[in-house]
C-alpha cells in the first residue's frame, strides 16, 4: 500500500508498515484509508477512529507532529540534515553512537560549507591582489601584474 502512496506523493514515509502521522492527521483520504484498513484487522477498538472522535487527542497528536517536523518544514538546513541522516549515514554503516554523533557533526559542517559556498558564488566576488607566493612560511612578492581571484 505504501508503495502506491509514496509514488503518488501522498506520504513521505520510507517504511512499508509505518503510518505517516502527518498525512494521517491532515489528509482526509489517507485518514479514511488507514481507518478502513485497521477496521478490517482490529480485534477490539479502532484506535485510529478514536483520534477523530476525541478532539483533544487529535490536537495533542497534531502538536506532537508539529514539534517534531517543524524544523524540517521551515528549514532547508534541517531537510538536508535529515536527508543525510536517513540516506548517507546508514549506508556508511555507522552504528556506534560516537560515530553517529561525529557523522552528524560532519554533515552539519558540510551543509554550512555548502551554504557559504553558495553565498560566495552568488556575490561573484573579484578581488585584485598582489602577485605573491609563500615559501617556507615566508611571503615572497613576485614581479608582474596583480592577480585576480
Amino acid at each position: 500500500m505504501n508503495d502506491d502512496l509514496r509514488a503518488s506523493g501522498v506520504i513521505n514515509s520510507k517504511e512499508d508498515y509505518y503510518i505517516d502521522l502527518h498525512t494521517f492527521l491532515y489528509n482526509p483520504e489517507y485518514n479514511k484509508l488507514i481507518k478502513d484498513i485497521y477496521g478490517n484487522i482490529k480485534c477490539t477498538t479502532n484506535i485510529f477512529k478514536v483520534v477523530d472522535y476525541i478532539p483533544n487527542y487529535k490536537k495533542y497528536l497534531r502538536l506532537a507532529d508539529g514539534s517534531t517536523n517543524i524544523s524540517s518544514k521551515k528549514s532547508k538546513h534541517f531537510r538536508m540534515l535529515r536527508y543525510i541522516e536517513d540516506t548517507v549515514i546508514p549506508e556508511m554503516g555507522a552504528k556506534r553512537s560516537k560515530w553517529l554523533e561525529q557523522m552528524r557533526k560532519n554533515a552539519t559542517s558540510y551543509i554550512n560549507r555548502q551554504k557559504n559556498k553558495d553565498f560566495l558564488l552568488s556575490q561573484n566576488i573579484k578581488l585584485s591582489i598582489p602577485s605573491f607566493k609563500i615559501e617556507n612560511g615566508k611571503l615572497i612578492y613576485l614581479s608582474g601584474k596583480p592577480e585576480t581571484i
Binding site: H77, N112, I129, P130, I149
Partner: protein, 133 residues
Amino acid sequence: MGLNKENDLKFKQYVEFILFPDLKKKYPNNKFLSYLGYRVFDFNDDHNSSINLSKIKTNNMDNPSDLAQFNLAKLDMLEISKKDIAKLFYYNLIAYNNQSGQSSLTIMFDDIIRNNSVDTIVNYNNFITEWDK
C-alpha cells in the same frame, strides 16, 4: 572566490600574510588587530595572544575582566574600514566556515550584525534567510 580551492587558498594566504600586517600598520593602536597573526588566535604558536574567544563566549561571559576584553575587541573591530571588514568576513567564511571556535573570527562580527553596518554581512544574512527556507 568560492569557485575553487586554489583561489580560496590564495585568498587565505593573502589575508594572513598581506592584509593582517597591512591592517596592523594602518591601525597600530587597535587591540583586536594586535592579536591577529598567521593562523588567527592560534594558541599553539607564540603570538602573545591572551584572549580565548570561544571560552569567553561559552563559559566566562559573567567574568567581568574577560567580558571587558571581549567588548573592547568588538569595539576595536568597528574602527576598521567596511571594505576591510568585508574581506575579514569573507576570510572567516572560507577559513572557518563562519562557525564559532577558538580560532575563528565569527564572534567579532556580532555587533556589526546587530548594527547592520556592513553591507556584505547584511547581504550574507539576507542570503542565508532566503537559502534556509
